[in-house]
């Protein structure tokens, strides 16, 4: 049966574009513009999903994105909501929460076990024994789960972007449109978003008045005419974060919006009534029936009962009547009925109205897949249905219009507060944070003209606020028009909840919670709203309580005998609607830094490693050689011939100015005031607690110019600290970080002088350019700083050149060194070579508590200095005995070897740990550095190290350095 109505103005479907799609394996047709639920309802399909726990049949309920029981998967994506999912040709949708399909779901018998599944059942039953929990969990997930993820699905990297505006208006209904117009015409850059595919909000479906179409068109024309309003439909404002940072989602991307103010005109969620079988297909919100009629031109039912507690219900009855539905009755919960003109119109349409009546139950048809009637009950003075006087009415649909709740999640997230207002019998915003505005029904204003006026008021208030923020005066915005207060009967009923003991009166359709669950939970002592939520899981399903929280709070308030305001509400958290992880992941940025020599490393197929943000060659693999052999050979070639390493990742700083030397003396532990121009010194830096944080070399280029190297991973932070100290001390220094802008390479080994000699006019003779000297010259035609350092323990030169010459200079060195058997070496070989020399690496051989004394580098502290960072702390620390010392360890060949961080054990106690180890040193036996208790630090002491498997390795404390103790080779 085709339930499609004749074409009507303002409908969202495109009748020119028929769309064929599949649902549960059967083929249907709808129109472009339909969502899955509307297209199926138009084909008279009412069983759209199964509930979460009891697998009860469920149909269309809100048609507003909250129908958590109508979830499908399309083969690629899962947990798609049928009341939001547009149909497209070829869509092949299947219900997610069934065993063996929706119609014949084997789990539908779960409902019979319902009485054995009281609230909290899972917490209680599967709590013990703990051992079995994984088993329970696995099976629970299977029956109570949602969709399955398709692991073969490879999502695109959806781009994320940033956007900016003065004012974000959320909701393009009458209030939002009016607000955007008022703000836009005041000169603000306005972004107007609406989560639905078209603007208009309730103007498009609710009021049913023929004047509404032109009215909406008029508002939209003004929006278009105003050049500074951007309208984005199909876009949800998912979350509000500090300073109006708002996550916007459309079907393709996440937009991070920065607004200067936020105006929420997002309307209300219609709330269901609670009665027996209020969940079955055919029972729906009045707004859902109106959306079906006006947006999708679908006749919701053939014969309907309307449960009303406000004028909106009377409009629903009129809309149904106009759509050809036989409205059997309007049951008005209010004894006095509807006082407005609408009551007369309903009477004129010949619709029977029953004042002071509720729906006692929906009467299920076969298999509960549709309903076949309703019982109307008069309400007693306490508002309870008199089932003894129930009157049965045949119908296939019940439309509920009993109340609303504001869609104010963004307001709460921004720090706003709501208060229960009895003139509307619902929550309204009471405190709006600075720069946050509310308008329309979200603000407790219900009359259409009032909503438009309230939108204008809020838009102007936002403009005044921003104009005030702009000006330098810090006054309060000029008082705008008074807030509009709702007149007439309240649009919400204070307690549309009717007990029918032990039956299925659903409060939360997502989680299959019924009325009795709340009474039970309350009886167990869960009388606080946040506790009740967690115990019953109300509001924790996919629609996050948008249709259940209000009733849950009304129930709890009544159970506690307290007011709604004293009962409180649960916290609203982002996101407003579920967002696919695909969009949240989106395109990610992983910044990576490369040295200028990187293309050469790539040509050599170097194995690269991440060091901080950098990529560095770990080693250069060679055909048929293992990693360890390659590293050992690279190191051996440095000892024997000459090696070349890319040290471009080292921090490279310039410290200039009249106070440069004095500044360095305060930053570093050493002395630099009398350092000769052309020489370099080791620099060790501590933090204020006296812990080693950095080391490097300090080269004096001129009296007032220093060139400083720092560690690869520490330089950024260290340089920032230097900048801060320079400010605090008020010294005349200029600090520059040229780390990425200079290439640096170390040519080291007995033949390094000869190799470099080919490329420079700088006199490299030991007399003219001694160890620890620095020269400015050229290398291979490029301006260069040459530094004679001995980090790896051989004759060596660091060559620093502008990055754009780096590759050229490197290749020139490789060429010039060819006849001296020059080979590149990587980070691993360098670590080995420096370990042989006993040089520590800050962060590897030191930790967050290591002082210079412990690391045996106290020699780098200048004697008698008046100040350096950490000095005063070290004075205090030195009054106490040392607790550990950094020493060398040697191991006999063949000994099982520890790894870094393995513990040294003495007399059953931890007595130290390995900080660095080299199984294959060029010395012919394994070596390591370790912290040990001072009493174990004497060379020759044997120490025991506990290995992963619990066995022990034995090493012997050795004097550092292991290699070339006189350091003759590097001089």
């Amino acid at each position: 049966m085709d339930r499609r109505l004749p074409p009507r103005p303002g409908e969202w479907i495109d009748r020119g574009r028929s769309v064929e799609f599949r649902f549960e394996g059967r083929t249907y047709r709808g129109f472009a513009g339909d969502v899955l639920a509307s297209a199926l309802w138009a084909s008279d399909v009412r069983l759209l999903g199964r509930s979460f726990k009891y697998h009860r049949p469920r149909g269309l309920y809100s048609l507003a994105g909250h129908d958590a029981n109508v979830m499908v998967e399309d083969g690629r994506r899962t947990n798609l909501r049928g009341d939001l999912l547009p149909i497209v040709p070829g869509l092949d949708a299947r219900s997610v929460n069934t065993a063996g399909g929706l119609e014949r779901d084997r789990l539908r018998f779960m409902e019979w076990f319902g009485r054995f599944l009281p609230v909290g059942f899972y917490y209680k039953a599967f709590h013990t024994p703990r051992l079995l929990f994984p088993f329970y969990e696995n099976n629970m997930r299977k029956i109570a789960g949602l969709g399955r993820i398709n692991p073969a699905n490879t999502p695109d990297d959806s781009p994320k972007d940033y956007a900016f505006c003065d004012l974000l208006v959320v909701g393009a209904g009458p209030a939002g449109l009016a607000a955007a117009i008022a703000a836009g015409e005041s000169g603000l850059r306005v972004l107007l978003v609406d989560e639905r595919p078209r603007p208009g909000g309730s103007l498009a479906w609710q009021t049913g008045d023929s004047a509404n179409g032109p009215r909406l068109e008029g508002l939209l024309a003004r929006v278009r005419a105003c050049g500074n309003i951007e309208l984005r439909c199909g876009t949800q404002a998912g979350g509000w974060y500090a300073d109006h940072w708002i996550a916007l989602f459309d079907d393709r991307r996440l937009t991070k919006l920065r607004a200067r103010a936020t105006l929420v005109a997002a309307g209300c969620f219609e709330q269901p009534a609670v009665f027996r079988n209020n969940d079955l297909p055919g029972v729906m919100l009045g707004s859902a029936a109106q959306r079906l009629i006006h947006l999708y031109a679908v006749k919701p039912f053939d014969r309907a009962v309307v449960l009303a507690a406000n004028g909106d219900g009377y409009r629903v009855a009129l809309d149904l009547h106009a759509a050809g539905v036989d409205v059997a009755a309007v049951a008005d919960l209010r004894r006095e009925g509807e006082p407005t003109e609408l009551a007369r119109q309903v009477a004129e349409a010949g619709i029977p109205v029953h004042h002071g009546h509720g729906v006692g139950a929906a009467i299920p048809g076969a298999g509960k897949k549709r309903i076949r009637g309703a019982t109307l009950c008069p309400l007693d003075s306490a508002g309870n249905p008199r089932t003894d006087r129930a009157q049965r009415v045949e119908c296939d649909g019940i439309a509920m219009s009993v109340g609303w709740t504001p869609n104010g999640g963004l307001i709460s997230q921004a720090g706003g507060r709501f208060v229960y207002a009895e003139n509307v019998e619902q929550l309204v915003p009471s405190i709006l944070p600075k720069g946050v505005f509310a308008a329309g029904r979200a603000n407790g204003v219900f009359d259409l003209d009032d909503r438009i006026a309230d939108g204008t008021r809020a838009g102007l208030a936002a403009a005044a606020h921003l104009a005030c923020t702009d000006s330098s005066t810090n006054g309060t915005p000029p008082a705008g028009p008074e807030r509009i207060v709702h007149r007439g009967p309240p649009p919400s009923h204070p307690f549309p909840i009717f007990a029918d003991k032990g039956k299925k009166n659903f409060v939360d359709l997502d989680e299959d919670l019924h009325l009795a669950d709340f009474a039970n939970a309350h009886q167990e002592g869960y009388d606080n709203v946040e506790l009740l939520k967690r115990f019953t899981t109300v509001g924790m399903g996919p629609s996050q309580g948008k249709l259940s929280n209000v009733n849950a709070v009304r129930i709890l308030a009544r159970l506690n005998g307290a007011s709604i305001n004293d009962t409180g509400t649960t916290t609203s958290r982002p996101f407003h609607q579920p967002v696919s992880l695909e969009l949240l992941a989106g395109r990610r940025f992983h910044p990576l830094r490369r040295t200028p020599i990187d293309p050469w490393h790539a040509r050599m197929s170097a194995v690269m490693m991440h060091v901080g943000d950098w990529l560095r060659p770990e080693y250069y693999p060679r055909e048929g050689r293992s990693r360890d052999v390659c590293i050992h050979d690279e190191a051996a070639n440095v000892r024997r011939n000459v090696g070349l390493i890319d040290v471009g990742t080292l921090g490279k700083l310039r410290i200039d100015g009249p106070d440069a030397a004095a500044f360095l003396e305060r930053i570093y532990t050493g002395r630099f005031g009398k350092q000769a121009v052309g020489s370099l010194r080791y620099g060790l830096a501590c933090d204020e607690t006296g812990v080693i944080i950095e080391d490097g070399i300090i080269a004096r280029l001129a009296d007032d110019r220093f060139y400083v190297s720092a560690t690869t991973s520490g330089v950024a932070e260290f340089f920032r600290e230097m900048q801060r100290w320079a400010l605090i001390w008020g010294m005349d220094v200029r600090l520059s970080n040229s780390t990425g802008q200079l290439a640096a390479m170390n040519v080291a080994g007995p033949h390094s002088r000869e190799a470099l000699h080919e490329l420079t006019q700088t006199d490299l003779s030991p007399e003219a350019f001694p160890y620890l000297g620095v020269r400015e010259g050229t290398v291979a035609g490029a301006p260069a700083i040459l530094l004679r350092v001995g980090f790896v323990g051989e004759l060596g030169y660091e060559v620093h050149v502008p990055a754009s010459y780096g590759l050229h200079v490197w290749q020139s060195l490789v060429g010039a060194g060819e006849r001296f058997s020059i080979q590149p070496f990587g980070v691993e070989a360098q670590r080995l070579l420096r370990l042989e020399k006993g040089h520590l690496i800050v962060g590897q051989d030191t930790d967050a508590l290591t002082t210079p004394d412990e690391a045996d580098v106290a020699w780098a502290i200048g004697k008698g200095k008046p100040f350096f960072v950490g000095m005063r702390s070290l004075e205090i620390v030195r009054k106490r005995p040392l607790s550990r010392r950094l020493v060398g360890l040697t191991f006999a060949n063949g000994t099982p070897l520890p790894e870094e961080c393995h513990l040294i054990i003495a007399e059953g106690e931890i007595a130290g740990r390995i900080t660095s180890i080299a199984p294959n040193s060029t010395l012919g036996h394994p070596i390591a550095m370790a912290f040990v208790r001072p009493d174990l630090a004497e060379p020759g002491t044997a120490v025991r190290i506990r290995l992963d498997d619990g066995t022990f390795s034995e090493g012997r404390v050795a004097k550092l350095p292991f290699y070339d103790p006189e350091s003759a080779r590097q001089r």
């Binding site: 900016f164 910044p591 990576l592 200029r734 040229s738 020139s812």
Partner: protein
């Protein structure tokens, strides 16, 4: 012993350009990509958005109490406010980075900055030259705003022209110089040499997703 000539400066993304089949020409000591086999070679106004490498132009950083007076003595038009810029005679630009800190980038083939650097040999007083070798990328065309909005949390529409902005682009710190001319939106991005390959690859991906392409140097600066 023969000393090699000063080699041409090399862009940090030279290899990436080469892989696109770029033809290079050495102009003023810089190897510049002047032609691509497939891209829009007439780059003045790319259809959507163009990305152009201008790394390797001569640069100079100057700091110190006497930097401003020295520059003025060299007849450089010195910008007064922090982040303000002035054009240099050779088509380059000078920007004030701080109270007494300046950044100069010469034009393509320009001699002004190298000549200025040579003058520094005879400097005196508190004047320090700092090696500067940022990569320079130019984004230009009608969809430039979309590239920026996908990489940068800053509202460029709200910023004045020809003033440098330090911010993060695709997660790395950059200086951005809006230098739109003749109604063609254009932004110059200075980024650390070491981060340049990463940023270039990221920008290329976004530019191409918007229907744009890598283009040779715009004529205005050649």
């Amino acid at each position: 012993m023969t000393m090699p000539e000063t080699p041409p400066r090399r862009s940090p993304i030279h290899d990436l350009l080469e892989a696109r089949g770029a033809e290079f020409r050495v102009v003023g000591g810089v190897a510049l990509a002047v032609r691509f086999p497939t891209a829009e070679n007439h780059a003045d106004v790319p259809k959507s958005v163009g990305l152009c490498d201008q790394s390797g132009l001569p640069k100079l950083g100057l700091k110190g109490r006497d930097a401003e007076s020295w520059l003025a003595n060299q007849r450089v038009d010195v910008p007064a406010a922090i982040y303000d810029s002035r054009p240099l005679p050779d088509g380059g630009v000078i920007v004030r980075f701080g109270t007494d800190e300046f950044f100069l980038e010469g034009g393509v083939g320009g001699e002004f900055v190298p000549a200025l650097a040579a003058e520094l040999e005879s400097r005196s007083g508190h004047l320090y030259d700092i090696h500067r070798e940022e990569a320079a990328f130019v984004l230009l065309g009608s969809r430039v705003g979309e590239v920026l909005s996908q990489t940068c949390a800053l509202d460029f529409r709200a910023l004045p022209p020809r003033r440098v902005v330090f911010t993060r682009v695709a997660g790395v710190s950059c200086g951005i110089f809006p230098d739109s001319a003749d109604n063609v939106p254009s932004y110059r991005i200075w980024v650390d040499y070491a981060s340049a390959p990463y940023l270039w690859e990221t920008l290329v991906e976004i530019v191409e997703s918007l229907g744009g392409s890598v283009v040779p140097s715009p004529r205005g600066r050649v």
